[in-house]
């Protein structure tokens, strides 16, 4: 037996370690946020933008690591500014793949420069790119919590109009709704969510929490609120299970999380049919 069959005593054992506590705390908060925002990402088909924010955030994180600041700050500010920038170009600008692609390639190059200037080259880059949930500090958990609370409050306020504007933008515009403003708010919320989710999955695996669970959920239910809940539950399940397995195995947590999420997606995509 690689790990105890008794989950309860196993969890007791796991929570003796502070880094595991932090990992579970951050993982839980982030999964909920990712589920909620992820549904809108799938509905608005802005997953490419989500990916771009992650990579632009990488440049910010690498830059602030170089400057000796908590990389989370760099991550948050770079991707939020990018989110604002892309959104004010116009709602439909988010679908301009070529522009977004060009900017993200440049951001990635910039991040590479910062990382190479930074002494802790390999590990720092590695953890930003692929996630290092086991290395989340107590202060990062607090920042994550604070940012998540802000995201959730804002999301609760604007979810209905954004949902409608995502579903039927022209009608929303004709009804006098400020679709551009809603687009900006959404992009900023998305950028902030991506920034905190990067701690779990890393820049390159951001879809594992921001896209795949919601894409799975949207196939399971026709009701938006249920879909949001299911997406959050899938993220939670994957994060918790991934952490649990990784505690006993020498393999990276991100691998387990992405595998669980992808496995569920495949099952729903090909086996479950209405």
């Amino acid at each position: 037996m690689l790990f105890s069959v008794n989950v309860f005593s196993a969890l007791q054992q796991i929570f003796q370690y502070q880094f595991m506590q932090h990992a579970f705390e951050a993982g839980t908060i982030i999964s909920v946020v990712a589920g909620i925002i992820g549904y809108l990402v799938v509905l608005r088909r802005t997953s490419f933008a989500a990916h771009a924010y992650a990579e632009i955030g990488f440049a910010g994180a690498a830059g602030s690591a170089l400057a000796g600041i908590n990389p989370l700050f760099g991550l948050l500010s770079a991707s939020t500014i990018a989110g604002f920038g892309i959104a004010v170009l116009g709602n439909r600008a988010t679908q301009r793949d070529v522009e977004i692609g060009s900017v993200l390639a440049f951001a990635l190059g910039l991040g590479l420069l910062f990382i190479s200037l930074y002494k802790g080259y390999a590990t720092e880059a590695y953890s930003i790119l692929f996630g290092e949930i086991l290395g989340i500090s107590g202060s990062s958990v607090l920042i994550t919590l604070a940012v998540s609370v802000l995201i959730l409050i804002a999301a609760a306020l604007v979810y209905r109009p954004i949902l409608f504007a995502s579903l039927d933008e022209d009608v929303a515009e004709a009804k006098g709704m400020r679709t551009l403003l809603l687009g900006v708010i959404f992009m900023v919320l998305l950028a902030a969510s991506v920034s905190i989710a990067i701690q779990v999955t890393g820049v390159l695996l951001i879809f594992a929490l921001m896209v795949t669970p919601a894409a799975t959920a949207i196939r399971l239910t026709k009701k938006p609120m249920y879909a949001v809940a299911i997406a959050a539950i899938i993220s939670l399940f994957a994060t918790w299970t991934g952490l649990f397995i990784a505690f006993y195995q020498p393999y990276p947590v991100s691998f387990f999380i992405t595998s669980i999420v992808f496995g569920l997606y495949l099952i729903v995509r090909f086996i479950y049919r209405k």
Binding site: L157, L167, D168, A174, K175, M177, T221, K222, P224
Partner: protein
């Protein structure tokens, strides 16, 4: 309506009035000097070739675009974006066969989606949405996914979406395209019943006037930078259109009374990206 209508009420009957209305974008006129008025409860078809400016007409009525010159009055005032008195069904929707969301949600959002925060009156919202679906004979589609609907069903749901806020005017942009002849007849009949039973004014953009013509009060014919408006039998004549366009335009009728207009489309102003027969 009671007898002895005062002059004031009489003028209010005209809910859309265009005077020397010229529209377009910077440096490009789409159509100019249109004069027309539309009364409450009229069923109006907006027809003409692609790119002639039919959707521009809707953008004007919705207050999304300002005239280059002339004036447009809607409900006795300049059009203002976000009027709850207008129900709009655009030509393109972001909804497709991937949108796994039940119909009732869309209709509900059209009722209250402009409000911030959580909804506090779910029951009232649901009732309004069900009533709107009922009105278009789509009650049974309420819990079906938008992704699973046929073209005709989707158009009925969009009509419910437009009706949910109880508008006095409906703007329907090409609802008949992509429907087969039977569905076209059904939808036109439904729009006509809606117009008559609710006394709403409906503008319907279409390529082909023939399935509509028996129900229409007025037609707005937009082509070649000009607009002709009036009763179909007055507007759609060779003489009238030839005079308007200063070129030979022929209105042909077949044995069943179907109309084909030949000539006016040749000098369309822009957007000739689709080679479509301008059979109207």
């Amino acid at each position: 309506m009671r007898i002895g209508i005062t002059h004031k009420i009489e003028t209010q009957r005209e809910i859309v009035i265009a005077r020397n209305l010229t529209v377009g974008y910077k440096g490009k006129t789409v159509w100019k000097e249109a004069n027309f008025s539309i009364n409450r409860g009229e069923f109006v078809a907006v027809i003409g070739p692609n790119g002639a400016g039919k959707t521009t007409m809707f953008r004007m009525l919705l207050g999304l675009q300002k005239p280059l010159s002339g004036t447009l009055d809607v409900f006795g005032a300049r059009p203002r974006r976000g009027s709850q008195r207008i129900g709009y069904v655009p030509q393109r929707h972001t909804i497709d066969n991937e949108t796994n969301i039940e119909c009732i949600e869309l209709v509900r959002l059209a009722f209250s989606g402009n409000k911030w925060g959580f909804s506090l009156s779910r029951r009232e919202e649901k009732k309004a949405a069900f009533d709107a679906l009922e009105a278009v004979g789509a009650r049974e589609l309420a819990n079906k996914s938008l992704s699973s609907l046929s073209g005709g069903e989707l158009q009925r749901v969009y009509l419910a979406e437009a009706l949910v806020s109880n508008p006095e005017m409906l703007l329907l942009d090409e609802p008949l395209s992509n429907l087969d002849i039977r569905r076209v007849k059904e939808l036109v009949g439904l729009v006509n019943r809606t117009v008559r039973s609710r006394n709403v004014t409906a503008f319907l953009v279409a390529h082909d006037i023939n399935p509509l013509i028996q129900f229409l009060d007025k037609v707005i014919y937009v082509a070649n930078g000009k607009v002709a408006t009036g009763k179909p039998e007055q507007v759609l004549t060779s003489k009238r259109l030839t005079a308007l366009y200063e070129t030979d335009v022929e209105v042909l009728r077949d044995s069943k009374g179907n109309i084909v207009i030949v000539g006016a489309e040749d000098q369309g102003i822009d957007d000739h990206h689709e080679d479509e027969m301008d059979v109207i």
